[in-house]
């Protein structure tokens, strides 16, 4: 959920507080998991689809959130059907898909910084045991930010390996990724210091 998929908008969902949306997601997901039936999955999906409409998102955006789960669904659905029957298959897979789509809606309507602020506020009591909530929030932000950087590194390492005719070499892939990731972390640390994060 914590990826940078936020899409600017003025809908009620966009204007709602991040804390309220996270709480709503928590309640919705809990009910979804607790109330096990295919009907519930359908009701949940209709509800979430309606919220996508309320947020100003079309079918394309909704499908875009489900699409990355296609391989997971294609594997899990027949497996569940085979081991536990069609009702269990629809319930288990449907619950996961609806929960992910609901979480994606929060991500689509909420800036990451707002989510991180909520996390920082929730962690405030942990300050008593030495946890710095701001630092945890920053850590999460850096983790999110690192995903596309490491993905690009992986792609470049793959290309470099192919260019050298070493398609089957694991070390030709892993070594540059490890080295470049460490170097990137080093540079990020330096950049954070330059921006006064530790001051």
């Amino acid at each position: 959920m914590l990826t940078s998929t936020y899409q600017r908008g003025t809908s009620l969902l966009h204007r709602s507080g991040a804390g309220a949306k996270l709480l709503g997601l928590l309640v919705f997901s809990t009910v979804l998991v607790a109330w096990q039936s295919p009907v519930k999955v359908l009701v949940g999906f209709v509800l979430v689809a309606g919220l996508y409409g309320l947020g100003g998102f079309g079918v394309r955006t909704l499908v875009g959130q489900v699409w990355p789960l296609r391989w997971f669904v294609l594997f899990l659905l027949p497996f569940q059907w085979w081991t536990a029957g069609w009702q269990a298959a629809v319930t288990v897979v449907g619950t996961l898909v609806v929960a992910v789509v609901a979480a994606a809606l929060v991500s689509l309507t909420t800036r990451v910084t707002d989510l991180l602020d909520v996390i920082a506020r929730l962690l405030e009591p942990a300050r008593a045991i030495g946890v710095d909530p701001e630092r945890v929030a920053l850590l999460l932000a850096l983790t999110i930010r690192a995903v596309p950087v490491i993905a690009a590194t992986l792609q470049e390492a793959r290309d470099a390996r192919r260019a050298r005719g070493l398609e089957r070499s694991t070390s030709a892939l892993v070594t540059p990724i490890v080295v470049r990731t460490i170097r990137h972390a080093d540079r990020v640390g330096e950049a954070l210091a330059a921006r006064g994060v530790d001051d």
Partner: protein, 232 residues
């Protein structure tokens, strides 16, 4: 206000290797370039200016503040931009990264939003405010890196090879932007064209300042130095 940066008797070592030797400099001009071969010590010199590197001996003073004693105060005055913006952009979206710089400035939400909007508009990124930063072009990323440090309104901007990863168009855009800044700019670069028209250019070689003067003079010296066939 004393806007002078003073480097007094500075040497710096990484382990056994001395990268800067006995530097004594006063940096008072608004546009200062630093050039030199790879490994000459120019990036270390740049890092001294906002306290990212504390000298092994000697001291660096910014407005009278010693970088080794008041690094936080120095960094509020001296911003730093690196060659790789991907390492400098911390937050997932464009506006969030700019706002991140203002987190500890005690500003209200509306003021932060206003300043973010203004600086993004100034850097031509207004239409990208909510876009994921990793989807920007290299030039836009470097502009974002600049916007993110300049939103805090520092007095000095130090740039370590900010155009190295950019194509000619983006490089010129960043150069034009640097020229138009109200801040004092200290620019480390291999792109000698960027420094035409600047006030002062230092040439660093093996940790020492070997030329210090107007661009034509210093660049001429540097080209002669590099043309001598010495290994870089």
């Amino acid at each position: 206000m004393d806007r002078l940066i003073r480097i007094e008797g500075v040497s710096h070592r990484y382990g056994d290797r001395e990268v800067l030797s006995d530097l004594d400099l006063s940096l008072a001009q608004d546009r200062i370039g630093i050039i030199g071969a790879n490994g000459s010590g120019k990036s270390t010199l740049a890092r001294l200016l906002n306290g990212l590197v504390v000298p092994s001996t000697g001291r660096v003073l910014v407005d009278g503040m010693d970088t080794s004693r008041d690094g936080a105060g120095v960094r509020r005055k001296v911003a730093f931009v690196f060659s790789d913006p991907d390492a400098q952009i911390v937050m997932p979206t464009v506006a969030e990264d700019v706002a991140f710089s203002l987190r500890r400035h005690g500003l209200g939400k509306q003021e932060v939003a206003d300043r973010v909007r203004d600086v993004l508009a100034r850097f031509g990124l207004g239409g990208h405010a909510d876009h994921p930063a990793h989807l920007l072009s290299s030039g836009q990323k470097q502009l974002l890196a600049l916007a993110s440090v300049l939103v805090t309104e520092p007095e000095v901007l130090v740039c370590d090879e900010p155009t190295t990863l950019l194509d000619l168009r983006n490089s010129r855009q960043v150069a034009g932007l640097l020229e138009g800044l109200a801040q004092r700019v200290v620019l480390v670069t291999h792109d000698l064209e960027l420094l035409r028209g600047w006030q002062r250019v230092l040439v660093i070689d093996e940790g020492r300042v070997v030329a210090d003067g107007p661009p034509e003079q210093s660049i001429g010296y540097y080209e002669e130095l590099m043309g001598a066939g010495r290994p870089c």
